[in-house]
Symmetry: C2
Subunit: 741 residues, 2 copies
Amino acid sequence: MSEIAAAEPWAVRELGLPESAAALRQAESVFALANGHIGLRGNLDEPHPDGMPGTYLNSLFEERDLAYPEAGYAFPERTETIVNAPNGKPIAVTVDGEPLDLRSGTLHRHERVLDLRRGVLTREAEWTSPGGVAVWLRSERLVSFTRPSVAAIRYTLRADAELRITSSLVVNEDQPAPSDDPRASAVIHRPFRAVSHDRDALVHRTRRSDLPVAAAVTHTGPPGEIETEPDRIRWTTTGRGEIDFEKVLAYRWNGDGLRDEAVADRDAAARDGFAVLADEQCAYLEDFWRTADVEVDGDPEIQQAVRFGLFHVLQAGAQAGPHPIAAKGLTGNGYDGHTLWDTETFVLPVLTYTHPACVGLALRWRHATLAAARQRAAELCLAGASFPWRTISGPECSGYWPAATAALHVNADIADAVRRYHAATGDDDFMREAGREIVEETAALWAEMAYLDDAGAAHIAGVTGPDEYSALMDDNLYTNVLAARNLRLAGRHDLADRLVMRYDERLEVHQQAYGFTRLEEWDFGADHDYPLMLGQPYLNLYRKQVVKQADLVLAMVIAGDLFTAEQKRRNFAYYEARTVRDSSLSAPVQAVLAAELGHLSRAYEYLAEAALLDLRADGEASGDGLHIAACAGAWIALVMGFGGLRDHDGELSFAPRLPPALPRLRFSVRWRGGSLRVTVTRDSVTYVAHDDLVAFKHCDREVKLPAGESVAFALDPVTDLPAPQTPRPPAPRPPMSRAAT
Amino acid sequence: MSEIAAAEPWAVRELGLPESAAALRQAESVFALANGHIGLRGNLDEPHPDGMPGTYLNSLFEERDLAYPEAGYAFPERTETIVNAPNGKPIAVTVDGEPLDLRSGTLHRHERVLDLRRGVLTREAEWTSPGGVAVWLRSERLVSFTRPSVAAIRYTLRADAELRITSSLVVNEDQPAPSDDPRASAVIHRPFRAVSHDRDALVHRTRRSDLPVAAAVTHTGPPGEIETEPDRIRWTTTGRGEIDFEKVLAYRWNGDGLRDEAVADRDAAARDGFAVLADEQCAYLEDFWRTADVEVDGDPEIQQAVRFGLFHVLQAGAQAGPHPIAAKGLTGNGYDGHTLWDTETFVLPVLTYTHPACVGLALRWRHATLAAARQRAAELCLAGASFPWRTISGPECSGYWPAATAALHVNADIADAVRRYHAATGDDDFMREAGREIVEETAALWAEMAYLDDAGAAHIAGVTGPDEYSALMDDNLYTNVLAARNLRLAGRHDLADRLVMRYDERLEVHQQAYGFTRLEEWDFGADHDYPLMLGQPYLNLYRKQVVKQADLVLAMVIAGDLFTAEQKRRNFAYYEARTVRDSSLSAPVQAVLAAELGHLSRAYEYLAEAALLDLRADGEASGDGLHIAACAGAWIALVMGFGGLRDHDGELSFAPRLPPALPRLRFSVRWRGGSLRVTVTRDSVTYVAHDDLVAFKHCDREVKLPAGESVAFALDPVTDLPAPQTPRPPAPRPPMSRAAT
């Protein structure tokens, strides 16, 4: 039986073999390795019928048609789906002629460890075959942060028997059928046609999108036989007692001469060997953690989870440029491998303050898709650019427009990510070459969408905000506020100033959208299964006051300067009572505002819900990939929530307040040329600047801290205020088994 | 070249052979023959590559899956599509071995006449073959109103040559590919599997829906050879000089023993022969026209069109029970053969006052689908019954829920048709056995949908009204008003009285829905192709003040007693300026209110637009079937518009006013046991009661008119008021060629 072991500060450890298909697939996601460019799901080395094989090359997708029961003008006709790329992971073993299948015989020990400082996944197993042969195996796997095209495996097998190892690179392997869940991916079977094959590499093209890919493989160690065919390279070695080898993979899928480039990358990596690759990996991560790490005293699970989350955010983004950072990173095929607004709104803020280089590249990717966004705007009879709700290479890939095309806020989210990145880094080249145009084109879209009423107030009608249990509303406050900021960035202050924030004078709360607060209340007394969308028609969800995920609350976080404290307090209580958190994007945002308003225990619960989402033992929703935005959410809840980080108006500010359970929080923020280490305790906060002077605000007090200096402030004692009512209490801590290690 | 000849009062005549595929298909719809039970498109006898073969048996459908790019809870998974049933029309000819193909050789004359009093389609052609043989042919075709399962053809061919005639009954024939238009039907190829075949009949079942159908055929006249195979019965005769024969078809597709029943029906009809069938047809129609005819002096085209429309409404409804009356009747496969709200709102009112027997049956069909409607309501987590937006046998078949499932008004439309039918006929058996339950179950739906605000006013949120360029609005006035009436019918007066009618105090007009009047105006100055939906995304249509079709205006017609004259005037002017009539359901309604408000010439223009829609020479939109609701629309515009018929509160009332162009209008209305003939001239109106006393109102004056008596009233002179501005002027009279006859 598989258990996630007790939380360790720098590792995720699994004991035993996952028992169910769901648990196996969750583990494949949790133990996925990626560098933003290539990603290997944490499949077992040897074949397993319940697994979902996954090797993803960023933006290597196949096209397929979208069919509608009733078509409509400008409904996208094609979509893009990430494909399972040539898979270099399979290593099959026989022991005295018996296949190594850990489900048979006796499994004495099976342990996998993801080391967050080394960036290596290690596996060890002790097993007795049905025929009575005792076997010991160990494998290590890495996807190199420093060599974007390279992955490597080191494999050792010991048994007093005749051993036979068949290690493969395989293309067009069988894929399990997709689930019925609307959020699942389509599965494209046999996506590749063969172009060439030899002992070193396979070259293929996707059948319809016609994208080329070259995959090279080599094995070092004992002598072996190589067989090659169009969809497979197979290396076989035999021996007795012990076999020890290294397998190096290299992928190329952009440009010309791909085969030779892949072979050259492979050769360089194989020449250096696994140990060198692992050392490079370790050094890269040491550099990352130096200015990205978050230390949490008092809660080992949160400590582990925030590092796990940051590690996966890094794995999603590190070498993603010039490609996008997808909602699942490269950990699974969920959402078809698409990139959504999650990236700009949840993932890029974290990377902006921890690893800004890849943020510039991610936004340059958006800029590279501007032609498609302009074309989409023209299709929609709008001006400027309309970025897609879901895409891989740029075109709109979403097939349900009320929750996609109508969610135009993605454009303002992108513009705001540009603003944040530029403010935090001062990267003027980026702004001149890419950012400025994004801001102007999205502002042009808002200028077209907005209209003035007779009183001169501006409105945006018929759009969908972050809350997907409402749709096609007028004056969604989040959209209006972000659009106004987008317009101001483009210098269109007059229109920006006119955009309304709807307020219900009777209830004294802002309206999520025009009329929202007078809709029928949802009957939270009735029994409901969550997420509601799987058992309730949109017809009911849309017409009632039930909120899928933070919407107005997100506006109060991102644009908190537009609200008074009293408004925030009243608004939060009102929407908290109507928000069911059926999206993983919700809890981190609610955590931040709850912390700001002094509902510290509630914030802490939401932090845990977000942080442990993908690690929890019942995390079946992670089977088709991790929620990278929720991975970022742990950082958001801790740093923006308990650290009180805000970045309104291009200024960095902090207002720390810890929940009762946490005695100490330490995090770092990259800002311009420097970085700031912030250490929060119950009664004080200490800021230390590194590398360069850092200017920021502590609770409205301006601070300019030269490199190497520190400043400390006493913190007023905080009262943990009772939290507002919520229809769906924060998830209890998941059953994370405390297995003996 | 094909031309519709000058309007004749009782016939539609085509001269020449349609030149384009579009014109051919339009003619196939115009010349379709049906009795509500079976329908034969007006295909030529001999094969033509551009035609769309169509033989429809009411409710003989195939199922197919609906696929969604992004599925949602309670999205229908299956739909139903009318299939092209066993086709008994084909008659192929060779003349001295040359095929009779009127596109070759020389066509001297080709004429088709649909005789609206005889119910027979006659065709004559004079043609010289490429080989120089002069040929004369004549065919007559009827679908019997009196024998629901029977159709018959009489065919004569003359030429001084060797003649060979092959007459077929054919199953699974090839169908042309569907167009890209979202309103077009799916085409199901080869929908049948064979069950049995013999010289007399073919028995098949649809492959997936597994519905049985038996088709029998016989030929009388000269001796012939019969060949039979699973998908075909072929009768061949040869001769010289002249061949004259009759072909009788009979179809059965409900119950057991279908083959023998079909053969028996066929035998009885063949024994009587075509002449007897034609006499019965004539007698049936004489009876119909006696109390249904509308006479229009001063406009031969309108005169023809209103009779053509009534004839097709009768063809759609006469023998439809126990099946539904589809939006295209049985004239084509448009809308997949589905029944929509058109039936209850446009077609049944006309039949209620002209041929009420089939209205009771049509509503009993709705009642028979109540189990499906209850199940649908439960699926939607609602109470009572939710009738489908589109269906053949009962389940929801629509795949775009914002304009379908959300258009819950269809439930109130059905309830209102129940109310109207019962008020007009006093059919208490129907009410007890079917009507009452429909009313109660739909009222239960509204009781669930409606909610009370703090002030005690009731609202219905998130629904779509008749205007499909708005969706998911709150308090759609049409829906609220019809739902209130539905609730009152069920005795739920308190809730009914609370439902709001939204009013814009500033503009002094009612709001089509909450907030509608403050949305952005549509830019009608820009060039637009109509219908807008083919070139504009819903995203733009929904968020602006552009109205596809009468919505609030329809409410002011159906529930006109809820509005003051001044409100009607202001509302009409406001919505007239924003309504583009992209639905054929719009013009008749606008005609009625325009007439009531004294915009008589505008009403007359809208009458023409509606009445001539399917007859106009450029009527390509009729290729996949006639718009049966628009056929009803001519009657609606004349009788409700210029006759001023209303039926609020179960009372029949009239307020006649003729437009300047029409000196006289005469129509009849069936009411309870009697009928009322109404003759309107410029200065007077005369009412004559037949069969029974008729109670009605003339311009607020109560009249009780015994059978056989008449009463006349002087009419005040009317002023033809200037019409409000409209963005899309009424269609000019179509180019109906005045060919010499």
